[in-house]
Symmetry: D4
Subunit: 255 residues, 8 copies
């Protein structure tokens, strides 16, 4: 509710077109549903056609089912991240429009079509082992209405694999680099292009990799300017950030 | 040099329009100057009208002067980051078009005008102590040709300061949040808008802040989706990333 | 045994009202039972009507049963924290007045009624996944005789959920904020009120969350003044601290 | 501005007693002063008679002077923490009611009297080296209108020093324990009393003390229930938290 | 083989009482058995009547059986630490003189009697959960021929439990303190006595305990002088160190 | 494709001996196979007779089978590291020339003979528990065509075991030291010889060993000059590095 | 005051040989002097002939002078650790019996003779750079009445230097090993002898040494049994612990 | 002294060609000079023509002068690392054959010529700021008799700078990569060549670089096989390791 809305509401009260109690109600009736254990936030999806998102870790199956039931009633698309297989089976009881990506632990419930953007997001991985995280980014960006391309297994140990695919880097508007180990790929890609690069460190590695810390630090300290880094294994966050960027681009294109 | 360029070059060789040695030269003559201790990379600025950037820490004044002398000859704008005051004095001998921002330790040498974008980047800080880092982001984005606005000292300890400025958040296309301490501002801002938010943790804090680690972890673990995080105190990186995003937006607008 | 007690004891010895051996006994007979592997401390509950508390992790079921058997004889209420389900089954054999909260891993054995305070403790969570820890705080404070209210799932990613519940914050005398991820909720709540706020970081998160470290550091570095922080996932400690505060408030009220 | 205020405002608009523009103004005119680089928050002091607080680290002397000048106009007491001596000299130019505690790096500007509470806060230290941090807590609590007592240098290496002072622990309503090294004093004190204990780890130590981390972890992991911990060397935060507790106690006493 | 031995050997060679090859053999025949995957070191037990010790973690059952078979032939006592139950079952096939302490994961094979020292080692624990580690120390010291006493569950949260047992501290010659959580017990004990105190941090705790790091740092930073600290959960090392000290005491007594 | 190759290619184009499209093909046909989820890199093995290597962690069995199938067609030897037993069973279906080293989690598929070098690599371990990692180094170096010797269980706690085997150290050209615990063996070996020493820290240890960090730091800080350190438990990397060194030695010998 | 003392005191009260107030006084008059900012603990020196010790870091010169003045009156020897040179100059004003060891930052004020023990403590260092810490141990042990020997610069990079001095190791009763870098010397020495070894990690090193952490972890994880470790650079603690051990040995010898 | 030497010595004793005391002397006269505070080890230089090396940090100027004086008498070349300028001035008094490299803090005293190897060591840096560390490696390798080449400022942010210099990589036998920031250069170089690559992480960076930790972890986790890593900023160690490798190569060449 922005300044303009408030001014209009006040004007209606002044003109007698709105009772004080009604005005109170409008000011107070915030766009979330209260389930007791969860306040479902329909805010963003109402405004944006965005899917609603549930982070499943630490929630009981019953809680997740309650939240999803509430969401389904509104007809929105739903993305459930960090979902174990048993969550999937629990939600299967609620709807048939459901798909489970086991290695990415992500559930997609698609109730309505999403448009595709003209601009492209390219998701690049260092190795094959990084694909589950990359897939989380791909699905997220896709559900948010973006055109998404992939370029997998082009890590710097054999840099000709990347250099041989520079055309793909050039065609993209936003690039997500998903890499474990030393995560050097993010720096190299960022040095090759002049567009937004989002770096996703993965926990692929062992020993002094410390479950992704080595990749994370590598990306935060990139000698290439202007990488935006998300949490370790946070494909969802990268896909979401890429989408907010792409939305700005599309809006400019359509103006 | 892309596939099309190579094909054309080969065609010229075939047609006798280009000698083998000339072709070799074109394939090999990469756009950097070799100073021995530094390979000055004119690549980006040539292509983009971008300023050239020097990271000063760890370089001797002589080295920096050598590099800047080389850059000045090409007429580019120059940004020198992490520059102690003595670096500024050393460079003053080379040019008058130079300005030093002491608390941000940044030197600007502006030799040519830069255009302004239609889209806006908004730089927000949690406290007054975060301003030197914010200023680095502002100057960087400005030098890269962006329209930049500021909203300072709106940290979450008095959240009405932020909520009272939501219009500024709405007007911006890209938001950079600069915050030390617990860095919660990034999450709150990101929850209020639906646009790209770049988070810059600062080293403002003490004790268990660990010189910025607390802010950094806070931002990487934001419950708000899709923050892109840069290194601690890396105002430059945030300004640069915001600029690459803005460039995509402007290109879309102009198509 | 304070100075006054000692003086009285000495006076009785002097007056011949107490034998030296009896005096020795009183000086030595400390209020704990020695089970060999555990010294059960009845001290606090005797004095306070407090329940007795067992930290179960690392103790064998036999040891826990021995300790609880000893406690049951004294008629006190008992709180067993960090208790696996098998501990619950072992204790079920000892008493029927037993309840197990599976997700909070807490066992309650209530043998006597506890009074309710006039002042209120409000337990707030950032997300649904933080509820098991919040529940530990709720049960602990409840068992210690406090009036406890709840406000769940009001994290800062959708700050209108919190702002829409400010009345609940205002009614409380002490607030416990339970939050994982970046734990920013504690700072925002603390900035909105002017009362004791106890912050409980949770291990809800992944990657660079480091099992709660990110939330912990965030809370320790809050830009809002005067948060008291407890260990990661330590709902018990928060409930206990809130109760000691409430006890001081109630005592002042009753004077 | 709470629900009741909004209802009244809306009623005035309805009755024509308030113009829409005036209502907008009242809704928007939030109680802070905007200095550009700082938004001075008079909120709390207006409501509470609390002093206004400035965290000086990272702010320029000019900025601090600007903020204090603004505060002085309102007649509030002022507390400047983490202030180097040069800050003190800069502020001396503005007022004579100023005092500087060099080892605690705290500046006090007292423009109005503060009342004293009936309840007592006791500040305890492990060693003599912890006194500067303890002093920060003492001054903060004192400025916030509390009765404060001290018990210094009673660390656990000579536990008879603490045991010989148990009467002081008993007389206090809230205890702040300030300790470096292994910080064990907090646990021992907390085990001896049944009241709120706030633990302040200090950076007193060396080697594997890691500038206070050892004390911090020790206090967070106390085997004694219900310690509230603040950041390393954060005497201010402890004094502030103690004061919010004491305020609740006093309010109950006066009801 | 010390200087005197070498001189005698050389003298025998000179005198023709020893052939060069024999001398070579004596110089080379080091007291260990080579099993290929393990060099069993009989050195210490030969010299000292000490048991032989195997660290089981990371060794296959076959390897452990091979090593123990070799040891059994020499008639020594054997201590196997960090042994899973399946190791115990594997070794049961080799000998009947075997005992397994499940919670301490330690196996004792006693083939010969060990004497008892006059001096006493006292093993103290903070809580009941620390007993498995304490037991490792007790068994180790016992197997090495020491008189060992125990004082369990006297942590500082109820310090009267420790103060009520000061006589036991006074009777001991060497004290091992085993404590998790904040490990404060080591400091308090060390402050009460004037004898060697060996501190064993345990992994008993959670959250910011970091699997024993909090206890470890606490003990390394003790304000009480002269604690010797061993690795987290290293009851064996503490028992062994106590025994080397006791051996020096006994030797002095017997001179 | 080096400068000389490009010049020849250009000359052929000029002379009409090569069509533009053919030239394009040669410039673009990089030596890797694209499986979509993986770009198999035949580069090194083609050039060197080296085996192809797969890092199995994080890859699905189907992906691994796809990659190996592609490799088998080229007749190369294959090394699969970090392979669970189920990977082995999946690959058994593809070929009989396969061997699985369970404790080292390494799979060897040998399709062609490898030569042996004249120079020797010696793999030394501190304890028996380090052998699985050592074995990974041995197999890797062996598959890469090196002569490999072993010296196991010669840790510094019984230094005579090492000193009694100095001849083996002298005969080797390159030494790999594999050690957990405090990893001191690497320093001692490096002090005894004057040849390349590669240090492999292992995760053998507990408590403050932090899964290999203690050994890693120990080796990085060796007081003996010139150790090359690889990641924790990275026997493969050590074997590979030793092999690149040996290859240089052999090339010099054969010139 | 032990059980026997209390019984006697009670008997005197009973017999009228002691008034209640006197008895109170004796029970309360604990052996420390209260300076307000410091409670000087004469306990140990009274009982033991031990010097009194001041940890100077974080104390003002005035505080240190106050404490030392109080100590001097009792005629005890005094040891001031972590003392900057200006502390030395401040104390020079109080007494002439004062000596300052600049590199060890330790001040000795010797007012009375100390006896020498028959048993020997040997202090060994890895390098020359470790000597300042070793010297702190030597002086501490010396002041506490022990016979102390030295063996410096025998680090494991040239192990023959240590092996050539095994006789010194054999003659000692207790060995203190002071080492930085990878700290391997402690393990090697401990493996060579069968007596108490106290390990002192030093901050000598750089980079991944982390100011002593590498040495500390190395010593805590020693593969040689039974090292007792003290804090980084804590020569004082090592000297003190060695002395408590030696005191037990001497007592046994003299019985 | 190997087996053969001992056998010959024993034979001489047997034959009466060597007295027992002489034999003792030969067995005991180890090749180091004892200065009390330092045992100068002439071992390696005697055998190898290697320079003697002093690590200066933590040593007093007097100690360093004493050690160098002893070394100078033997006519060896000397390398002093981590030497502050005042050390240089102290040593200037001893000899004129001395040179100081200020930014690398290394002193070279060259008393005799060193030969050059046929094989080449190439030292590569990511940036200009890494040169001081690279220079330490260059000087060390040079003093040890190696042919050393340089390739500076070819970091991955502009990868064409590296790719344009592949010929230099091909000509080298051993490559040392010196890089700060994210240290990705080591992986990229290692992927381009098939020879020993030694990686030196530098402390060039800020914030989450943690003084070199980010570069170190990056290099330890390289996706390119077989990097040998040395400590942060340890140019000396890299030069030394490269030299031991080169020595093996040269020996093979000369056989």
């Amino acid at each position: 509710m922005n300044n303009k809305d408030i001014r209009e509401l006040l004007a209606k009260v002044k003109n007698g077109n709105l009772e004080v109690d009604q005005a109170m109600g409008q000011l107070k009736d915030l766009p979330f549903s209260d389930l007791g254990y969860a306040k479902v936030d329909h805010h963003r999806s109402l405004r944006n056609g965005y899917p609603e998102v549930i982070y499943c870790e630490g929630k009981s199956n019953e809680e997740i089912k309650g939240i999803v039931t509430n969401m389904l009633e509104r007809g929105n698309n739903i993305l459930a991240t960090r979902a174990e297989e048993e969550v999937y089976h629990a939600l299967e009881e609620l709807t048939d429009d459901i798909e489970y990506y086991e290695r990415s632990k992500i559930i997609v419930i698609q109730q309505e079509e999403v448009a595709e953007t003209e601009s492209e997001i390219l998701v690049v991985t260092g190795g094959t082992s990084d694909i589950p995280v990359a897939q989380e980014a791909v699905i997220t960006a896709d559900m948010l209405g973006n055109t998404v391309k992939r370029l997998y297994d082009v890590g710097v140990a054999g840099i000709h694999r990347l250099l041989g695919n520079q055309d793909k880097l050039k065609e993209a508007n936003i690039i997500i680099v998903v890499a474990g180990m030393e995560g050097a790929l993010a720096s190299v890609v960022s040095g090759l292009v002049d567009k937004p690069v989002i770096a996703v460190p993965t926990s692929v590695g062992y020993g002094a990799h410390f479950d992704g810390v080595a990749s994370l630090l590598s990306m935060l300290n990139s000698c290439a300017s202007g990488l935006g880094v998300v949490n370790i294994d946070n494909g969802f966050g990268a896909g979401y950030l890429a989408s907010t960027i792409n939305r700005q681009i599309e809006q400019a294109r359509n103006n």
